[in-house]
Symmetry: C2
Subunit: 271 residues, 2 copies
């Protein structure tokens, strides 16, 4: 099954939430620290309780790479715990010259076997093309991010009247001949989302920033509903996986993702 | 010794070459394939023959990450082979929201103990600040890269009359209050280098693109000489480490880096 097909099945069943497994040993419930591999145990329980309700798991490589080779081993073992029908996103934000991006594509798509990745667009077409050659995978290019620094460059105006992030969206649409391109659009930019959602034609959209960063879930769903597009994934990390610090943290995450799914459904089907 | 001090000593002794240890098992001499760890053996020999002449070793993480945890172990063991007085650059091109960039900074500066890193500027200040908090390290932000795709966004004109890459350089200078910022400027952009080198005040410049990508070493040195700046590092990877496919590949790399050092010196001291 291709990444696009996996995602389509989840979206059709009303699942739009990507669970961010950005697992930080300093933030997991204390009782897990007595486990041999606390991070892996935490991920295992979160997956066990949420996989039926999740559209996707997004794993940020930084949280694993920080422990070097041992961390990447835990990343790999976490990926093996995720059921095949749930989309896996390697939130890697890579981007390099073609020769090197090719190595990153081998790493993320062949070694770790992610279904999808996130990429920096700054270096242009040949820096992302090695990823796009994997037709059955999805590549999300950063357009407008959820952080304050998005105003430093992404929101700068070009002399053609467009903002830089709009230019990125426009180029990514040109690169989407295989239908395997997406963009990252921070949910904290509600105004820009409303103004630009009509231009996302054909692209799958990954929206971080709901939860700890303050973006509105309802705002996101309303924008896509207005534009009659359903190819969107809302990532929630900290506000979901750290919902409880007690033994019941798995159950708490399950209740939270069910509640998030319900909130999406209410806005989508209302009126 | 801080990264800045290490680099300063090398530059003062006329060493401006960064050796790119982008080691690809498909490109190393065939006789090494009988070794237990061919990539590590190759790196060991290249380092042994070149460390007296190199200003820096630049390791691109993609070439190691592609083998997952085993690859990162080889990266770590390669770093342990590099003498303490030679600057190590983790060519990682990272950049994420603050919370995550902090994890990458821990990975690159604390776990792997690189002296310097390369970063994507696209997401703005808070995406690079966790790295800049390490005062004794160097952070090179991508300004104008050496690849064809640099024309997709980096060379776009903003409505303030500047090109995007010039805006990046200007912002990086604002972020350089601790003196630990640098930029990446592709040597293939000789015209842009000549036009902009005077604006690099205070920044250390890493220039990839000489060798396999076609940039001119003499052109780079002339530009910096004209602007009376000596804080530049020219990276050479494939054209140096794969100079020979025979048993003498270490010696061939040594002759090549000596020749590169001489070519820098000739232009620098001429006329």
């Amino acid at each position: 099954m291709t990444a696009q097909e996996k995602l389509q099945l989840k979206l059709k069943s009303g699942r739009h939430i990507a669970v961010g497994l950005d697992t930080d040993i300093k933030k997991i419930p204390q009782h897990l620290l007595k486990e041999k591999e606390p991070v892996l145990k935490f991920n295992e329980i979160i997956i066990e309780y949420t996989y039926e309700y999740a559209a996707s798991y997004k794993l940020n490589l930084a949280f694993y790479e920080k422990d070097g080779s041992r961390g990447l081993e835990q990343l790999q073992r976490t990926l093996e715990l995720i059921p095949q029908d749930v989309l896996t996103i390697g939130d890697a934000k890579r981007g390099d010259i073609g020769n090197t991006s090719n190595m990153y594509a081998v790493s993320l798509f062949e070694h770790f076997k992610f279904d999808a990745v996130t990429l920096h667009p700054y270096m242009g077409f040949d820096s992302v093309e090695p990823f796009l050659q994997y037709e059955d995978k999805l590549s999300f290019m950063l357009a407008l991010t959820s952080n304050p620094g998005s105003s430093d460059f992404e929101k700068m105006k070009l002399d053609n009247g467009q903002y830089l992030f709009q230019q990125v969206i426009s180029k990514v649409k040109d690169w989407n001949s295989r239908g395997n391109c997406g963009i990252v659009f921070g949910a904290t930019n509600e105004k820009e989302l409303l103004e630009n959602v009509d231009s996302f034609e054909g692209l799958t959209v990954l929206l971080p920033g709901v939860g700890a960063q303050g973006g509105s879930l309802e705002g996101v769903v309303k924008a896509f509903k207005k534009s009659q597009k359903e190819k969107f994934l809302v990532n929630v990390s900290r506000a979901l996986i750290y919902r409880s610090q007690n033994e019941d943290f798995g159950k708490a995450a399950k209740q939270e993702i069910i509640s998030l799914n319900n909130r999406v459904s209410e806005v989508w089907h209302k009126g």
